[in-house]
């Protein structure tokens, strides 16, 4: 890319950052004004400063960094299991058409099944522990991966497959060099959706059953009537979700789209 495009991208980034900064400032400003007007008691709605203080406190005593680490650790482990099994089942759904169609219908119902609704079942089946939490996350995200795998592959234009077979590709070669790459843009979208479900699930599961973690901090904050801590953990949850989605998954999707020439908004 030549210099002009690079500098255009940079200034676009600057514009975005400026907009974000302004929006954030206005939000915080309105919050402070509402706080000073005293419409809600200090206990129900703390000021931005009080929340900042809470942030400082839980970062300093390491409970926030630890909790973020633990939550993300559980999440990544559970999500990886979701992806592995979800993909395998998705592929099985392609291979065995009847099974695939039936499971696809079932999964549609389970796709948006509220993650918290899995918790009581998980406590009974797995237990009130790490694996119980991971079970909830897996059940909340696996159907997304399954359906996404199934439909991504089914939606590959048949001409790709025909052309490839014509040139002698078959079996694993066909899969590795044609099917998989062709399905990838759509798969990534499914991945983002699955991640979103998994993220919702872990916080909900942690609020209902945990000893440590981000959801736990939120829950404890509430039990001790510490709204500043509640809001601080909400902000942390929001920020992490944003960072992962915007800066990891979105960029990944973007790169793949560009690679495939699907980037129509050039």
């Amino acid at each position: 890319m030549n210099k002009k495009i690079i500098s255009e991208k940079k200034s676009q980034g600057l514009h975005d950052a400026a907009n974000a900064a302004l929006m954030l400032a206005v939000f915080v400003g309105i919050w402070e004004v509402v706080f000073m007007l005293g419409i809600w008691s200090k206990i129900s709605l703390p000021s931005p400063a009080m929340v900042a203080e809470s942030f400082y406190k839980i970062t300093l005593n390491l409970s926030l960094p630890e909790s973020v680490g633990i939550t993300l650790g559980r999440l990544v482990a559970a999500f990886l299991i979701s992806i592995s099994f979800g993909t395998l089942i998705g592929l099985a759904m392609i291979r065995f058409k009847g099974f695939g169609k039936t499971l696809n219908s079932f999964s549609a119902g389970l796709l948006s099944f509220p993650s918290i609704a899995w918790v009581p079942f998980s406590i009974l089946l797995i237990g009130f522990n790490e694996f119980g939490i991971m079970f909830v996350v897996i059940m909340s995200s696996i159907f997304s991966v399954m359906i996404s795998t199934y439909s991504s592959i089914r939606n590959i234009p048949s001409i790709y497959m025909d052309a490839a077979r014509n040139m002698g590709a078959k079996g694993f070669t066909l899969f590795r060099y044609v099917t998989l790459p062709a399905a990838t843009p759509s798969l990534i979208i499914g991945l983002r959706q699955g991640w979103s479900f998994a993220w919702h699930a872990i916080i909900g599961a942690e609020i209902l059953m945990s000893i440590v973690g981000l959801g736990h901090i939120l829950s404890v904050g509430r039990d001790f009537l510490d709204m500043s801590e509640v809001i601080a953990s909400m902000i942390t949850i929001f920020t992490i979700g944003l960072i992962v989605d915007r800066f990891l998954l979105y960029k990944l999707e973007d790169r793949i789209r560009k690679k495939w020439g699907l980037d129509h908004h050039r």
């Binding site: 400032a25 008691s41 400063a49 009974l124 237990g127 009130f128 001790f224």
Partner: protein, 361 residues
């Protein structure tokens, strides 16, 4: 608007917010509460469908309270846990509430002693340390390396459990010891006992009875044995301070109803249990077998005495465990038993001496 200007505006707003934050911190907090929600004709009561809120469950369900309050409309809201109740009190959705001592203490401290007052007691006792029959625990010396549960971090039973363990020389895992404590809802605790995921739990009644009878448990410690005279508060009535100041007459009527209900329950135990179960069914859709309720009630005192010394001791214990911020709790003025004592006097019952200890040594 170019980016530099936007950044500039953002910076100015942040600076303004920071400045005003310092200003409001230095002012003493006397926030403006919207009190117009509570009109002079309504009393909004918050409570939980628990046996230590029996007066409310029975009195409200049977209409006794409304009768005593006459022309003042009684509106109620039930909650699953104390913190939520105190939340609602501060958010001006209820005016008085039956609630446990620990959420009360937290609320008092969080509001710098401004926003609530304890105006009466409701229950004493009713908490037990249950262990699994096959947990290998036969006495207090067998607790090492085990896993226990309590309903909520920092709640009354959680504080009791941790204090008990500390007093007997044990340490919990979060400070390098070998005893693990899990916090879970009471129903989940039953599940965990049945699945042998935990070795025991410190729970309020009727869960103690339920664990004993339905989850192969035995009672290791009856918490009453740990307190002077077997009395320690497990439920009180709190009122929002502004409501108490603006409507002492309504509060008086409420306390009359409360005291009457307390006396009635104590004089009609069996009938009270039956009616309580009925009302519980109305509130939650489920009832408890009456023999379990009877056993649960046997470890509980329905009273109007807030047993002040026990509340102060609970606060100290919570503080000692690190649950209450860094400063020693100042509970000066948390109790206001003046109206209760008026009511007791009119009924020829002995008054309850108000005990003001700012923070017990």
């Amino acid at each position: 608007m170019n980016p530099e200007v936007k950044f500039g505006i953002a910076a100015v707003i942040f600076a303004a917010v920071i400045t005003t934050s310092f200003m409001s911190v230095s002012q003493t907090a006397e926030t403006v509460h919207v009190t117009t929600n509570s009109s002079a004709d309504v009393l909004r009561i918050g409570y939980s469908p628990n046996i230590n809120h029996a007066q409310a469950v029975i009195g409200i369900g049977t209409g006794d309270y409304q009768k005593e309050l006459g022309g003042i409309k009684v509106e109620t809201q039930t909650f699953n846990a104390g913190p939520a109740t105190v939340e609602a009190l501060f958010a001006n959705r209820v005016d008085v509430a039956y609630v446990g001592p620990n959420p009360t203490i937290n609320g008092y401290i969080k509001s710098n002693g401004q926003d609530l007052r304890v105006i009466a007691g409701a229950a004493s006792g009713g908490a037990v340390f249950v262990v699994r029959n096959d947990s290998g625990i036969n006495s207090i010396s067998d607790l090492g390396g085990k896993k226990f549960a309590s309903p909520q971090l920092g709640n009354t039973q959680d504080v009791a459990l941790r204090s008990f363990l500390n007093k007997n020389g044990y340490k919990t895992s979060d400070v390098g010891g070998n005893i693990q404590i899990i916090n879970a809802a009471n129903s989940d605790i039953v599940t965990m006992m049945l699945k042998k995921d935990i070795d025991g739990a410190w729970v309020p009644e009727p869960w103690g009875t339920i664990l004993e009878r339905n989850a192969h448990g035995k009672i290791l410690v009856d918490e009453r044995d740990l307190w002077a005279g077997g009395k320690f508060t497990t439920a009180v009535i709190v009122a929002r301070t502004d409501y108490l100041q603006n409507h002492p007459d309504i509060i008086k009527k409420l306390l009359e109803a409360h005291v009457d209900e307390t006396l009635w329950i104590n004089n009609n135990k069996d009938k009270a249990i039956t009616i309580f179960d009925e009302q519980l069914g109305n509130l939650t859709g489920k009832t408890i077998p009456e023999n379990e309720l009877t056993e649960a009630f046997s470890r509980l005192d329905i009273t109007y005495d807030p047993i002040q010394s026990s509340l102060y001791k609970s606060a100290d214990a919570a503080y000692g465990l690190g649950f209450l911020d860094d400063k020693k709790p100042n509970l000066d003025g948390i109790f206001d038993l003046s109206i209760l004592n008026q009511v007791l006097d009119e009924k020829n019952l002995s008054a309850i001496q108000q005990v003001n200890i700012s923070s017990t040594g």
